[in-house]
């Protein structure tokens, strides 16, 4: 996929989001959780864009920004050529018709008092212009598409297993044929044996409808398999960004290498050497000065805690923010 020739579907330019923290006492200085700091990225039509990182690194905030659900403090977001960040709420509503989300937990994202038909037809009812018979037909077709049967239409979410509930979530997201779909950890609440089914389904649907996915996950092995390009985030900053194959072949940032080291494998004959990452993610209220990753980084240098490393180009469509590669910036 040569990404540079095409116009990106979604473009973020230096986006930052901070959430104010409740004050402990009235005259305390205002504190902020810096959820996303200075993120720029481009997502091309038809591709799957992976977002990887530990909890609290800003993955979901980033996704909410791309949906126009989260006001940004600075920076601009363009979707399909229009500037999302400058839209009124009415225009946003219009634009969101071509965007949808699949949530992490299918057990809480489906209203237990809605039947499957009510759940899946809700986007149609909001859009308007469908008769009841048309809706029944569309929903039935959609159900077959995601591997359920038409007869499931009048059952309730509690009758289904976790994997089937996630299929209902997918059907609901796809009923309006969106251009852009955010998958927010679509399989992490499910059994490993169901992961494969759901991921295969998502890939089949993408091929059929040419949807662009933003795929959030903390499992690098899954992201590697499903996505074309990806970003590795840590405490709201981009650590590494670019083509997935290039990132995995030649991981440039120590954090990416650490994430790869913590994956478990099932090849008993060739156990990979696993490097453990020490410590936990520090608080995003007071992130460490300089590079956010210093303190946990196995390859820390004295300059790391002094200033933030810039995002430098490692190769074509592969960028990393680390002083190990700072020499490339001057080239």
């Amino acid at each position: 996929m040569t990404s540079n020739e095409r116009e990106p579907l979604l473009k973020m330019e230096h986006v930052s989001v901070a959430f104010p923290v409740k004050k402990d006492f009235p005259f305390q200085k205002k504190r902020y959780v810096k959820a996303v700091t200075d993120v720029s990225l481009e997502i091309y039509p038809g591709e799957t864009f992976g977002v990887v990182g530990e909890s609290g690194c800003g993955k979901s905030t980033l996704a909410n920004c791309t949906l126009g659900m989260q006001r940004v403090d600075s920076g601009k977001i363009f979707f399909d050529g229009q500037e999302l960040t400058a839209m009124t709420s009415r225009q946003l509503k219009e634009a969101r018709r071509s965007m949808q989300v699949i949530f992490q937990d299918p057990f809480s994202s489906l209203n237990p008092r809605f039947s499957v038909f009510d759940l899946i037809s809700e986007p149609l009812r909001i859009k308007g212009g469908y008769t009841y018979a048309e809706m029944r037909k569309t929903v039935g077709d959609m159900l077959k598409e995601v591997g359920l049967s038409e007869g499931d239409m009048d059952r309730f979410p509690s009758d289904f297993s976790g994997g089937q509930k996630q299929r209902i979530g997918i059907a609901r997201a796809l009923i309006l044929k969106p251009k852009y779909l955010v998958c927010d950890e679509p399989v992490s609440a499910l059994d490993v044996s169901v992961h494969a089914q759901i991921l295969n389904l998502l890939m089949d649907l993408q091929e059929k409808y040419h949807i662009t996915y933003l795929f959030i996950s903390h499992n690098l092995a899954v992201v590697k398999r499903v996505s074309d390009r990806a970003v590795v985030m840590y405490l709201g900053k981009v650590m590494e960004y670019g083509n997935v194959q290039k990132i995995f072949k030649n991981p440039a940032h120590p954090y990416t290498r650490a994430l790869m080291g913590s994956i478990f494998d099932v090849d008993i004959d060739c156990p990979r050497e696993r490097k453990r990452l020490q410590g936990e993610v520090p608080s995003p209220i007071n992130p460490p000065p300089g590079c956010r990753f210093c303190g946990r980084c196995p390859e820390e240098q004295p300059c790391c805690s002094l200033s933030e490393p810039p995002l430098v180009k490692i190769e074509e469509d592969h960028y990393a923010a680390c002083f190990l590669h700072a020499d490339r910036a001057e080239e």
């Binding site: 530990e54 490993v192 991921l199 478990f264």
Partner: protein, 341 residues
């Protein structure tokens, strides 16, 4: 001596809609100092098994039948609830999946661990002359041991964390606190029910390392319950694979990963996402777990099995014993050849 011997454990739940046979006659043996994993999808009865071993299933609704239940040499089959309270925590301990619900939110974590020492270790609380300590001195001693236990699981500033409430700790820390609680009285057996499912990959690796290290150091037996085969490879010595309340395969870890005999085990292994695998599609087990109320006839796995024959639809295969303590419940395991994954 075996750390745990279970023979023919059966658990049923009579409900209005019908009888749910959660566990249908399973045998488990765990040697001293061994780590045994029970693997299966949700709803296969693995958590019910662990609760039954702890005798934590309340009856009603559950009805439990077991021929033999021996824990570290003590026969706990006929123990009453009162007597079981003495065993739990001291001889057998449990680590639950969700640390936030397992811990008491209105008590500091330090005091929660103190409780275990105070409830069980009365005989340990004596001075050099063998005289029992006063209540105050016992509390002080318990605090000392708690801080020691917290340090053991790699919590920094243990003195400070002693006074922390569960919500002030991160997910990984809370799971460490639970591990510290389980190892507190040095039990024969620790049951870990999906100990890392709620955690991030990096923290999951850390927590499992600590669990493994402590288990080796203290020579405790560990029963690890999980749905993810990838985490047990480096942890377990022996693996039981459960499906619909029955054990379908049991083998030493190395053999199971090298040469899975049951088609279900093969499917589970295939569905793990691997990093050095470049195929685009994921290998999947078709369809989903049958309803526990309407299990299929014959082999429970036959509707999802690509190798199913006429015989599989009629008769339930027996759990066949093979050499090396291996067993498998399949009619055709000899004929099936799997492609190398």
């Amino acid at each position: 001596m075996k750390a745990l011997e279970v023979e023919n454990l059966k658990v049923i739940f009579p409900t209005e809609a019908g009888i749910v046979r959660a566990v249908e006659g399973i045998d488990i043996e765990i040697d001293e100092g061994e780590c045994v994993a029970i693997v299966g999808e949700s709803g296969c009865g693995k958590s019910v098994t662990s609760l039954a071993v702890m005798k934590l299933l309340s009856s009603p609704p559950a009805i439990t039948r077991v021929d033999k239940l021996v824990l570290g040499g003590i026969d706990i089959k006929d123990l009453t609830d009162k007597q079981m309270q003495k065993v739990r925590g001291k001889d057998v301990a449990m680590i639950f999946q969700d640390a936030l619900t397992a811990l008491n939110p209105v008590m500091t974590v330090g005091r929660q661990i103190d409780e275990i020492f105070l409830a069980h270790g009365k005989e340990h609380f004596s001075d050099e002359t063998g005289k029992a300590l006063s209540r105050f001195a016992r509390k002080k001693e318990a605090k000392r041991r708690t801080i020691e236990a917290l340090k053991l699981v790699g919590i920094s500033d243990a003195e400070l964390r002693y006074k922390a409430y569960p919500h002030q700790l991160s997910g990984g820390m809370r799971q460490r606190v639970l591990i510290a609680m389980a190892f507190a009285c040095n039990p024969h057996l620790i049951i870990a029910d999906e100990p890392t499912t709620a955690l991030d990959v990096t923290i999951q690796a850390q927590v499992l390392d600590i669990l493994k290290e402590l288990q080796r150091k203290q020579k405790t037996s560990l029963m690890l319950i999980t749905h993810d085969l990838s985490i047990v490879m480096n942890m377990a010595d022996k693996i039981y694979v459960m499906y619909c309340g029955k054990i379908v395969e049991c083998a030493r870890t190395r053999e199971l990963f090298k040469n899975p005999l049951h088609p279900y085990t093969h499917g589970l292994l295939g569905s793990v996402a691997r990093i050095n695998d470049d195929r685009k599609r994921f290998v999947q087990i078709p369809s989903s777990l049958p309803s526990p109320m309407h299990k299929p006839s014959g082999c429970y796995f036959h509707p999802r099995c690509v190798h199913a024959t006429e015989r599989c639809k009629q008769e339930m295969p027996p759990l066949e014993q093979l050499e090396g303590g291996r067993c498998v419940r399949c009619w055709n395991y000899k004929e099936i050849r799997y492609d190398k994954q």
